[in-house]
């Protein structure tokens, strides 16, 4: 009997893994790095996948979780300064404050994980429960609470980025 290939038709899987990773650690080069590493490891363990253990996306997300943990650990060890964007203007910063991804980054790690699994990787509550070793009901309750906290953060008033009268640096003035 031919074992199912978990990496057949990889494009949708790549998008779901990337969305999950980006919701966890932010959109950009780090998420690309972790996504690439996830599939490198998946390639290595391709033949060990068993359909009885669940859908390929759940298997891949399990790998991605470990890659994220490794990447975070490496980042802490290196304390490498990240490339930052040039300072923006007040309006752009205010808009960014309301940006969903930015708000997600401010959530508790466990909330971010749940929301990333549900709305990034598109896993069902049952699949999330299998991945995290929790009951489906518990996952649904936790998701509901995480959404509530996210909504609270999104609806919170934005804080002025600088006191009145302080000129903001613009590109080229440094």
């Amino acid at each position: 009997m031919v074992a199912r290939d978990p990496l057949a038709n990889p494009e949708p899987l790549i998008r779901r893994v990337y969305a999950y990773v980006a919701y966890r650690i932010g959109d950009g080069p780090d998420a690309e790095d972790v996504t690439s590493e996830t599939f490198e490891r998946a390639l290595r363990y391709r033949d060990s996948y068993r359909s009885s253990e669940g859908e390929p996306v759940g298997w891949l997300i399990g790998i991605a979780r470990r890659c994220i943990a490794d990447a975070v650990k490496a980042r802490l060890e290196l304390a490498e300064p990240r490339e930052t964007a040039a300072p923006g203007d007040v309006e752009a910063d205010s808009i960014r404050r309301l940006d969903l991804a930015h708000t997600m980054a401010g959530l508790d790690e466990s909330d971010r994980e749940l929301l990333a699994l549900r709305y990034g990787a598109d896993l069902t509550a049952r699949q999330i429960g299998e991945l995290l070793g929790q009951r489906t009901n518990a996952v649904e309750v936790a998701l509901h609470r995480a959404l509530g906290r996210l909504r609270t953060e999104l609806e919170a008033p934005a804080v002025d980025p600088a006191p009145a009268g302080t000129p903001l640096p613009t590109a080229g003035n440094s």
Binding site: Y18, S36, E80, H144
Partner: protein, 244 residues
Amino acid sequence: MSRFWQRSERQLEARLRAERPMPRPELVEAVARRVGPRPVLSGSKRFAFAGALTAAMLGALASVGGISYAASAARSAAEVVKKAVAPAGQQTAIGVFGINSGGDQYRPGYGFGDPNRNHTGPPGLERPGGAAAPPLRTRRAPDGKARLVSFRIQLDEQAALRIHVLDPNGRPLLLSQRGSKVGAGGISGPQTKTIRYTVRVPRSIPITLRIPANLLRAGELYQVRVVATDPSGQRTELLIPFTA
């Protein structure tokens, strides 16, 4: 009130899905290409792509239709095998020469030159943002004796990297390996005009170069030159401008 919160929650769920981060098409293409089709099965036997395969086996491989892969996947598989078996006439002996500065740690299945980790054609080497990315700026090293320049490159197959920094006249500058980083860790060695690194795992790679401060003039435009050579000897060069 309960219906209000339910509607509010559904709206937030819709927003989370609609604003889901999307990967760049280049990343999807690079990863999908790297994943490729699973090594083809023939009956109960499994083909191994590493090692020499005869022309007769290449034909058998292409004719296997019992696996649910598109014909194009079989053609790609044949091309990969062809690359492995046909010694390239112009192939340069690459080996693993590039580890005098650093390199990815060896892992089973990631030997340099493994055809499963490489493709035909020169290495895909690019910087996020591509040609439209703004020039980098250096920053002061903690000890004040050097400037650091950091960036990322995206590599889609195994390659030996050679990294230089060129002055405005195109001359390579001396670099400090200690304090420079390629990938997850630092590199070692004396000062050099060429930093070498062997990439066994194609991916996005962070790089930081340490340049003695006395070699740079403020406001001048310099370039990082990255040359990637794959196991078959094909090369790609990337130039990244920066200002001191």
